[in-house]
């Protein structure tokens, strides 16, 4: 088999943080090459380098495609050579028809006008090719997600595709749709097409891939040939997560008290898709002075769970009981949740956390203006003192508290958001991805702050996609998958392999839940030995 694509020594950094480091990656003609790795391992960045989203010159290394070195300036350059990406979030326009979506970029035309007949006919052919039995003039909004994914593939096929890149193509599909999609990939392979398949679901990967490359922290850890050896999932998992954890987390001796906050039978439905239960009757509790981690993949329902607790800020038809010190509390609005002693530090500080145009002081006091005012009149001196106090305590690096929060670095912005919530003096602090997008030094400072909070008797719930962080900080780790808690580990027994195993096993969507539970027990038992 000849080589279609070779990426040599690719490195790419964002503001000093290395996203990719010396990546070597090849795709052969007529091969399905799977790429696996944790959240943030560099999979998406790799694909963006390949497709020209990050243009030539913004990265180091070289791309050789079809025998020649290529310098893609943008995505059009790579598409012209048959490199087509299908993104995880579908990029279809809901209120246009299937046919219009397929030919959105360059419809067949005559005399400068769209040739509707040709659009219809060619759409029909393409839909037949992907096995989608829908009329081309059906609106995309009227077909399911699985079929939409097929439309995306038909759209890709409408261009001269030689290398198809699929980013988590089955993330939102059910089992039979996923199987159909994978069959389609295999069929295309037999016709000589190459594909890069990015997926979390190791069973799918193992089923169709010819080779598997594991990325970790922006490096290629290993490339395995599926024909040459049988693939061991454990081996892949180990490679995905294995890394040095020492000296990255401050030490702490936990003093854990009585349960403070309990959630029982909590259920949440999607705000738009009425029938979709996003949080499936979960139970959860956190104790005084305890840091509980919630692990899981993106889309597992962790943020949705947290936000639905915090004043019903996400979801519909929220049911279940929330108990504070054994007594049921009303968390139905954000201000009630704050009054009850909850605080939620969002994962998206720019969109949901900060008033970027306003200064540090105004951001810090926003959720608790009452404490710096008397009779609705703000005491600006008191406010300034509070803000300066947090600035010193949290070591927020800013010229003064009147600096606009939008001009601060990510780490300092995070400290401002944390300060805002600490100023409400919460008992239960929910931190959603508290170290996302901030540098290592700032991360360490945030970890120290979290430890101090727990030592001060607060109950901390920490959602994170970075497993080492969970292992380094938390006293207990709950694993969430598809809206339910599927595993729980004590600090002493938790390992990255165990957590990852629970997550990827769940991705198999076993029909028989008992079978699954028993296999999970087997696994954890095995790892203990």
């Amino acid at each position: 088999m000849s080589t279609l694509l070779e990426m040599r020594g690719i490195s790419k950094a964002f503001a000093g943080v290395k996203a990719l480091e010396d990546i070597n990656f090849t795709v052969r003609q007529g091969e399905i090459h799977a790429v696996v790795g944790e959240n943030g391992a560099g999979k998406s960045t790799l694909v963006k380098v390949l497709s020209g989203v990050y243009p030539h010159g913004s990265y180091d290394g070289s791309i050789v495609y079809d025998g020649r070195e290529r310098h893609f300036r943008d995505i059009n350059d790579s598409e012209a050579l048959g490199i087509i990406i299908i993104h995880q979030e579908l990029a279809l326009i809901p209120l246009l028809s299937i046919a219009e979506n397929i030919f959105i970029a360059n419809p067949p035309s005559r005399f400068g006008m769209i040739d509707r007949d040709a659009v219809y006919k060619r759409s029909q052919q393409l839909l037949a090719k992907v096995g989608l039995n829908e009329a081309p003039d059906t609106l995309v909004t009227n077909i399911g997600v699985g079929k939409q994914q097929l439309v995306e593939i038909a759209k890709a096929l409408s261009k001269e595709v030689r290398l198809l890149i699929l980013d988590e193509p089955t993330a939102s599909l059910n089992e039979s749709d996923s199987a159909a999609l994978l069959d389609l990939l295999v069929e295309f392979r037999s016709q000589g097409m190459s594909a890069i398949l990015i997926s979390h679901k190791l069973n799918e990967v193992a089923r169709v891939a010819d080779r598997i490359t594991v990325l970790r922290d922006g490096r290629t850890v290993d490339t395995m040939d599926c024909q040459a050896s049988t693939i061991e999932e454990d081996r892949i998992i180990r490679k995905m997560v294995d890394r040095d954890l020492e000296h990255r987390f401050p030490k702490r001796e936990p003093t854990i008290g009585e349960p403070v906050f309990k959630v029982e039978n909590w259920s949440v439905y999607h705000p738009l898709h009425a029938g979709r239960q996003v949080i499936k009757n979960v139970d959860f509790q956190v104790r005084r002075g305890e840091i509980v981690g919630i692990a899981g993949l993106m889309g597992a329902g962790r943020t949705e769970f947290a936000m639905s607790l915090f004043g019903r800020s996400w979801g519909r038809r929220i049911t279940g009981r929330a108990l504070l010190h054994g007594r049921e509390v009303d968390l139905s609005t954000v201000s009630r949740a704050i009054d009850a002693g909850l605080a939620y530090v969002t994962e998206d500080r720019k969109q949901l956390g900060l008033l970027l145009a306003d200064d540090v002081r105004k951001n810090i006091t926003l959720a608790n203006l009452g404490s710096v005012s008397s009779g609705h009149v703000i005491d600006d001196i008191k406010e300034m003192r509070v803000a300066s106090d947090y600035r010193n305590r949290m070591r927020i690096r800013c010229s003064d508290v009147y600096q606009a929060s939008g001009n601060l670095s990510g780490g300092n912005q995070q400290k401002v958001v944390l300060s805002k919530w600490l100023f409400t003096d919460p008992e239960i602090l929910i931190l959603d991805e508290p170290t996302r997008g901030i540098d290592i030094g700032a991360k360490y400072e945030i970890y120290c702050i979290i430890n101090e909070l727990a030592d001060a008797g607060k109950a901390v719930i920490m959602i994170s996609s970075e497993m080492p962080e969970l292992l380094g900080i938390c006293d207990r780790i709950c694993v969430m998958n598809e809206g339910a808690f599927v595993g729980e580990f004590d600090r002493s027994e938790a390992t990255q392999e165990k957590i990852m195993r629970v997550i990827v096993r769940k991705g198999e969507r076993l029909v028989d839940r008992d079978l699954q539970r028993s296999s999970a027990e087997e696994l954890s038992g095995g790892a203990l030995r």
Binding site: T346, L352, G353, L355, L356, L366, I381, R385, D400
Partner: protein, 396 residues
């Protein structure tokens, strides 16, 4: 505290301070520049006591509505209906007082309450149903324009009782009637106002300085206050040499002070800015964003009603055409005054200055005999220019 004071750049260069605060004072400087320009080209007509008094009377209702519009724009919305609402309320007032002979106090109260109700009706759809304010208030603009016509049955209704007319064409009573051509009461009030402003700013500065907050350099501060005192006293002198302070000017200044205080010093003001700056973040911080949006529209309705009363009292008649196009002047005043169309940014002082810039330009160009056609062209270009300059300054 002491170590923190050391890190504060208290000894910053004066030039640097002026530069960073230029944007704050830029609007005020352009107002003065425009006034100076028209004062020169009209051979001193602009600042004649009679003309200055007229200038105040002519623009009072725009300034009053700009205060409400500023809050609406700060929350990220717009209200296109204010002109029609003002016209409609004027019509209701005329019908109540002239046709049915209702006393002006209950009639005024009823009109303000009706304004609040109109604001509530529009704000409800915007805040709780999330219908874009542009659409809701565009509908309101048509509805109330039509209702004004219907209420007046297509005719002008007037005149009002002399007491009601005093709302906009009256002057404060003179306590020392024998004092000659100048009105000493008005002068005294002006002087007291100037001294009061200086007292407040000196006290605020001292309080801030004692807590280690950065304050402007002393010389700059003194100069600023000297100019402030000079300007206030000079303008009261000019106005006092005509017929004293107009009633409506007193109302206007009181409202400006009230809204200035509410926007900068109170929790509700802070929360309104938070809603406009980042509604989702505000909501997640426990702020009742819907209720605040609703209240800004109610407030706008009351102020539009007040403006409608002032305008009707000034014309001494309610006409179906009253209020036509006011919304554009009001919105333009806010944007010229530095409010952001994206919400979250804008100051009361800015909106007032914006309204005055528009007013001075209208007045000056009319004195010069420029036709209404080119007046509009020039006003349009000034609006665009002011906003462009603001955007350019922010990018730098």
């Amino acid at each position: 505290m002491s170590d923190k004071t050391a890190t504060l750049p208290g000894t910053r260069e004066h030039a640097g301070f002026v530069k960073t605060n230029l944007r704050e004072y830029g609007m005020l400087l352009s107002l003065f520049a425009i006034m100076l320009f028209f004062e020169l080209v009209t051979d001193g007509t602009l600042l004649r006591p009679l003309n200055l008094t007229n200038l105040v009377l002519q623009n009072s209702y725009i300034v009053i509505m700009a205060l409400g519009m500023l809050l609406v724009i700060v929350t990220g919305h717009i209200d296109l209906s204010v002109g029609s609402v003002a016209g409609f309320i004027g019509a209701i007032a005329a019908v109540l007082m002239v046709r049915y002979g209702v006393h002006f106090i209950p009639a005024t109260i009823a009109c303000l309450a009706l304004g609040a109700l109109i604001g509530a009706a529009q704000g409800y759809w915007v805040a709780y149903f999330k219908i874009p304010s542009f659409i809701v208030t565009l509908a309101g603009m048509l509805v109330f324009k039509g209702l004004a016509l219907a209420v007046l049955q297509g005719q002008s209704v007037g005149p009002f009782s002399p007491t009601f007319q005093k709302l906009s064409s009256g002057f404060i009573p003179e306590l020392f009637p024998g004092a000659g051509t100048l009105y000493p009461t008005s002068l005294l009030i002006g002087a007291a106002l100037a001294l009061g402003l200086v007292y407040i700013s000196v006290k605020t500065r001292a309080r801030r300085a004692s807590h280690g907050v950065e304050v402007e350099p002393t010389s700059f501060f003194a100069l600023k206050n000297a100019i402030l005192v000079g300007v206030v006293i000079y303008f009261t002198y000019l106005i006092a040499s005509h017929r004293g302070l107009p009633n409506v000017l007193v109302i206007m200044v009181a409202l400006i002070a009230l809204y200035g205080f509410v926007t900068t010093r109170t929790t509700i003001g802070r929360q309104i800015y938070a809603v406009g700056g980042n509604e989702k973040a505000a909501k997640l911080s426990g702020i009742k964003t819907e209720r605040l949006t609703f209240l800004t529209f109610v407030n706008m309705g009351v102020l539009a009603a007040l403006a409608g009363l002032v305008f009707a009292a000034r014309l001494n008649t309610a006409t179906p055409k009253a209020g036509l196009g006011f919304e554009l002047d009001v919105i333009a005043a806010c944007f010229i005054g530095g409010a952001s169309a994206y919400g979250g940014v804008g100051r009361v002082a800015g909106a007032v200055i914006g309204a005055l810039i528009m007013g001075v330009m209208n007045n000056g160009m009319s004195i010069l005999g420029i036709g209404i056609d080119y007046q509009q062209v020039i006003k349009g270009l000034v609006l665009l220019g002011a906003v462009c300059l603001d955007v350019y300054n922010q990018r730098r």
